[in-house]
């Protein structure tokens, strides 16, 4: 018998002790068994053997698929206008019955319905740019997003919130940092625990993000939980932030930098959520902060992680594939094995810039200390300073989008454009919890 999802059915199953009758609604499933939702709310699976199935009524529209009711919101004159650009990810997620996985599906309207507090902070204007998981992000999407951000600011948005899946949020933050010159806050936000659960960090992160988006901070930042508690969010500079934990709320950390600041969450007084800044930042209203968009990217760049014994042919492969720029994630102060050095020299000679970063993540590149390093410098490697490998990759794409002149590339890679190079190393305060 053909069963449709949503059908209400009765299953009579023969057992050793007689017949058991189950009644419920057919649920989507990946298994070969029939999965029904009983009236008690429980799902169960029944093997389609020794059963009699009777359809009681046709598809009961799976409620919850409904379009949310659109409430008309009055513009509050005293509140700033924020644009929420949605790209997907777990700040807005829903159960996917086909695969049984959590997937991004909600529109910005849904976000506002779930987090009405945002309406107390600003006049929210939302737009869905993408509905994708962040691992499916790609450079061309960064460009479109940058263009949308630019347009929103041009059209009067006083702050931008980008909702984003957390997996590649750091890359997107770096990309926007280089591509958009902004006079207003651009805040990326996501959630580590899916938005469908009462304990989700989505609401608090979004509320804190909105607060930052209304502040005088004119930079691209990531605002996410600062600890395992629902007590504060950190404001991380877009080029210095990295996801450092697979699942915890405090996954996002500033690397080789302290966070720009922190947002103290307080459910009792949403309007008065307090901001604290730890370091200098570009301020809204500063003269030199004209809105600008330089969104050209050379997408054919790659990031190669070196490991003991890694075959130098890996490098050759990328060169023959026509890659225009390569970031290496070397060991320690910035090393690959001696075997790799001829390949590095060849690539540079062909006009392919090679940037060295470190898999230590913390600390700066210094190839002058050991022989291999000096050989690498001699072969023409560009030291990535204290840049994160991922940020160096995004920056290289962006730099190659602006110029192909090797000397200029070298110069730009060393220039601090969006806070990606701190230059001055201090003792790290690592905000990891035990």
């Amino acid at each position: 018998m053909e069963l449709k999802e949503g059908d209400r059915i009765r299953i009579k199953k023969k057992t050793d002790s007689g017949v058991v009758v189950y009644e419920g609604i057919v649920m989507p499933t990946a298994s070969r068994n029939i999965v029904i939702k009983l009236d008690s709310g429980y799902n169960i699976g029944i093997r389609p053997e020794n059963v009699e199935i009777e359809v009681i009524s046709g598809v009961e529209a799976l409620k919850g698929e409904r379009g949310s009711e659109k409430r008309i919101r009055k513009v509050k004159e005293d509140l700033p206008i924020l644009s929420i650009l949605s790209t997907g990810g777990t700040i807005a997620s829903k159960v996917d019955y086909r695969t049984g996985a959590v997937s991004p599906q909600f529109s910005t309207e849904d976000i506002l319905e779930t987090i009405p507090e945002l309406g107390q902070i600003a006049n929210i204007k939302g737009k869905v740019i993408y509905s994708i998981l962040s691992e499916n992000m790609r450079a061309e999407y960064w460009r479109k997003l940058a263009a949308e951000v630019y347009r929103e600011i041009k059209n009067g948005a006083e702050g931008i919130i980008v909702t984003h899946g957390t997996d590649t949020m750091g890359y997107t933050a770096a990309a926007l940092s280089f591509m958009v010159q902004t006079p207003v806050p651009i805040v990326l936000v996501g959630s580590q625990r899916s938005a469908d659960r009462p304990s989700s960090d989505a609401a608090m992160n979004a509320i804190c993000a909105a607060r930052v988006a209304c502040s005088d901070l004119a930079e691209v930042v990531v605002v996410m939980h600062g600890s395992t508690s629902d007590d504060f969010c950190f404001i991380h500079r877009g080029t210095k932030v990295r996801k450092m934990h697979t699942s915890a709320r405090y996954a996002f950390q500033s690397v080789n930098d302290i966070p720009i600041g922190r947002v103290y969450y307080d459910t009792s007084n949403i309007e008065k959520i307090r901001l604290e800044f730890f370091s200098a930042y570009k301020k809204r209203g500063d003269k030199e902060l004209e809105l600008g968009l330089r969104d050209k990217l050379e997408e054919k760049c790659c990031l190669i992680k070196f490991y003991p014994g890694a075959d130098p042919a890996i490098l050759d492969f990328f060169i023959t594939q026509g890659y225009k720029g390569i970031v290496l994630e070397g060991t320690g102060l910035g090393h690959v094995s001696a075997e790799w050095i001829p390949g590095v020299a060849r690539a540079v000679k062909q006009g392919i810039p090679l940037v060295m970063t470190s898999q230590c993540l913390y600390g700066t590149i210094c190839d002058r200390v050991y022989d291999t390093g000096r050989d690498l410098l001699h072969a023409g490697i560009i030291e990535g300073d204290d840049m994160l490998p991922e940020t160096a990759l995004v920056k290289l794409m962006w730099v190659l989008g602006q110029t192909t002149d090797m000397e200029e590339v070298r110069h730009l890679m060393h220039e601090n454009i969006a806070g990606e190079i701190r230059g001055r190393s201090v003792k790290e305060k690592v905000h990891l919890e035990i």
Partner: protein, 633 residues
């Protein structure tokens, strides 16, 4: 009150922790910790979420209104899963096996594929805001003396975090994460229970079946009972968190009383044409110079409402120790506001004059009742609105609700009954298919059923049908077997009577028999087997041991004065026989019967009756022999 006549229908929901090596969804041990050993704590908020069917659950929303902060205490024996910082692992197979075993023992039908669900619970007891639960089996049942009781469902679920005393004056509720994630089975019976006594018996029987697996946790808090109760014209009420089996009968009784009284109150209110006014008044001015500490503590803020025609109603007792006013107070308490009313005032430092002014504010007559709460407006208003709703309900119906069992056997309001739409799939946990071989294997290892045990006892110990039935259903059945195997000269009927009727009688006398452990019984029967005391003294010894469980039986026998030196006993009997020499001579062997009564008066409970009989016969014989020898002289 006749439970049958009032149409009592009750069902039980039993939660029993399983004694698995690890928790249900992570590899942490299932052990409880001293809260002082907590290594760190964190703070969270919870929000209601849309359930799978797109409806926001009513019970979930009700909780959100209280908007509380939760503090969680973590340990070196808890991990990121408990913290809701990491997706759960797979459903613990050891726990699934135990759940299947229990299901089979309850004659249930396991489902073919177990799906873990998220059941929304936002009182903070689960860090995720939902409890993970899976339906494992349905359609079973057990036979009881009063008929068949269906067992509708068996679910495998994670236990919740345990609530610790609220810290300081803050609104934060503190939970300990050690208990969160311990596997438990939730067994739900059909509403087939018809009397309070049957409720208690069903709970006992289910508890015994669970323990027969040897794979469930034991001790305080490892088993919790919820009871669903309704009576005709009443409402379905769920009473949660009964930890003491002995209370089940009382709770059923008290709920029947509550509902019957609420029905009476409703009729009375109708007769009086009572009504509630929705007007909430700020009464703080009246208490500007009050001496009431309660009000001072609330910053002098007082708000109130007037219930017309309710005079005396709030002061009416509806359950032992609880008046209708207590029911209303439960609602105000939810918002952290204490409630007072004119049925009980002046009291709490509130003066006569203040009461007069209160009443005047509302133009209240002798027929009315003014209800006040001392709290700032943000708390007072929702608290009084909830009280108003409850008062309105009192004139209409008995509300369906979830209540909390109190140690007295009464209960307090907790929240509305949860709606059905509070579950959606836990997509992080893959479904588990139960294959036939697995079931077959578990079936082959099932502990003995009660029917089988009964037949065995009849044969092996020669018990009659009634006694065999009684002991094989009794939680002490394995103790019974141990005693029988250890002391061969003890009659089986005596052991059965002791473990069933005697204990039941002691319970009736409010003796705390749960203090008695297996070793107490073993030792007692050992002493009895050595004739250290007479079997008539068994109840007295048990009573004594329940009060002083740390004392040895030997010492106890001495303390009670039971220890009878056989020499002394013989002497005593000899003395008695000698004093009645003439009687013995006259009656011969027939003198034993009447003399037995005299001797027993002295020795009852101290020495076994049979033993006395034997000695007595000897002594009588001696006297007779002496008599004949005298005659021949």
């Amino acid at each position: 009150m006749d439970d049958h006549k009032i149409g009592l229908k009750a069902g039980l929901e039993i939660h029993q922790q399983l004694d698995t090596r690890t928790k249900l969804f992570c590899k942490c041990p299932t052990m409880l910790r001293d809260k002082k050993e907590s290594t760190f704590s964190f703070k969270r908020y919870l929000r209601a979420s849309k359930s799978e069917m797109g409806e926001v659950d009513e019970a979930a929303l009700e909780e959100e209104k209280y908007s509380r902060t939760f503090i969680y205490k973590a340990y070196d024996s808890t991990c990121l899963v408990e913290n809701d910082e990491q997706p759960p692992g797979e459903l613990n197979p050891e726990a699934v096996d135990i759940a299947l075993e229990v299901a089979l023992l309850l004659n249930m039908n396991p489902v073919d594929e177990v799906h873990t669900m998220r059941k929304i619970v936002i009182d903070g007891s689960n860090t995720c805001g939902f409890q993970r639960t899976a339906l494992v089996a349905t359609d079973g049942g057990i036979e009881t003396e009063e008929g068949f009781v269906g067992v509708d469902s068996l679910c495998l679920e994670e236990d919740a975090a345990s609530k610790i005393e609220t810290e300081g004056s803050s609104d934060a509720v503190v939970y300990s994460l050690d208990r969160l994630g311990i596997p438990l089975v939730e067994i739900g019976t059909a509403p087939d229970i018809r009397t309070a006594d049957q409720a208690k018996k069903v709970a006992e029987q289910l508890g015994m079946i669970l323990r027969s697996t040897g794979k469930v946790k034991r001790g305080l808090g490892t088993i919790r009972q919820d009871i669903n109760i309704s009576i005709e014209d009443g409402a379905r009420v769920e009473i949660k968190g009964v930890q003491n089996l002995r209370l089940i009968g009382k709770i059923v009784e008290n709920e029947v009383t509550r509902q019957t009284n609420l029905i009476k109150l409703r009729e009375e209110l109708k007769r009086r044409r009572a009504r509630v006014e929705r007007q909430i008044e700020d009464l703080s001015d009246i208490f500007a110079n009050t001496t009431s500490k309660v009000i001072k503590r609330a910053g002098g803020k007082v708000f109130g409402i007037c219930l017309r025609g309710f005079a005396g109603i709030l002061g009416t007792e509806i359950q032992p120790g609880r008046r209708f006013g207590s029911e209303l107070a439960d609602f105000a308490n939810k918002y952290g506001a204490g409630l007072m009313h004119t049925d009980e005032l002046p009291a709490y430092g509130i003066s006569e004059e203040e009461v007069v002014r209160l009443k005047r504010t509302f133009d209240a007559t002798e027929d009315d009742c003014v209800v006040i709460v001392a709290a700032e407006r943000e708390r007072a208003e929702p608290a009084l609105k909830a009280v108003l709703r409850r008062a309105e309900d009192a004139m209409r119906e008995i509300p369906k609700e979830t209540r909390r069992a109190l140690p007295t056997g009464s209960s307090a309001y907790m929240r509305p009954l949860p709606g059905a739409a509070r579950m959606y799939p836990e997509t992080d946990v893959p479904p588990v298919e139960i294959d036939k071989q697995r079931l077959q294997y578990i079936k082959s290892k099932l502990p003995e059923t009660f029917e089988h045990r009964k037949a065995r006892y009849k044969e092996k110990f020669g018990l009659n049908d009634e006694l065999a039935d009684k002991i094989s259903r009794n939680p002490h059945f394995s103790l019974f077997e141990r005693i029988m195997e250890s002391y061969e000269n003890i009659p089986a009927t005596l052991v059965v009577r002791t473990l069933t009727d005697t204990l039941a009688e002691l319970m009736q006398e409010e003796i705390e028999v749960e203090k008695l452990e297996d070793h107490h019984f073993m030792d007692m029967f050992k002493q009895l087997s050595a004739n250290a005391f007479g079997k008539e003294a068994v109840p007295e010894i048990l009573k004594f041991m329940a009060k002083q469980p740390e004392m040895s039986i030997k010492k106890a026998i001495e303390e009670i004065g039971l220890r009878a030196d056989m020499k002394e006993v013989k002497q005593l009997i000899e003395d008695i026989v000698n004093s009645k020499k003439d009687f013995v001579r006259e009656k011969g062997a027939k003198a034993v019967g009447p003399l037995m009564g005299v001797v027993m008066k002295e020795l009852r409970g101290k020495v076994d009756g049979k033993m006395i009989n034997k000695i007595l016969e000897e002594k009588v014989k001696e006297v007779m022999v002496r008599a004949t020898s005298h005659d021949s002289e």
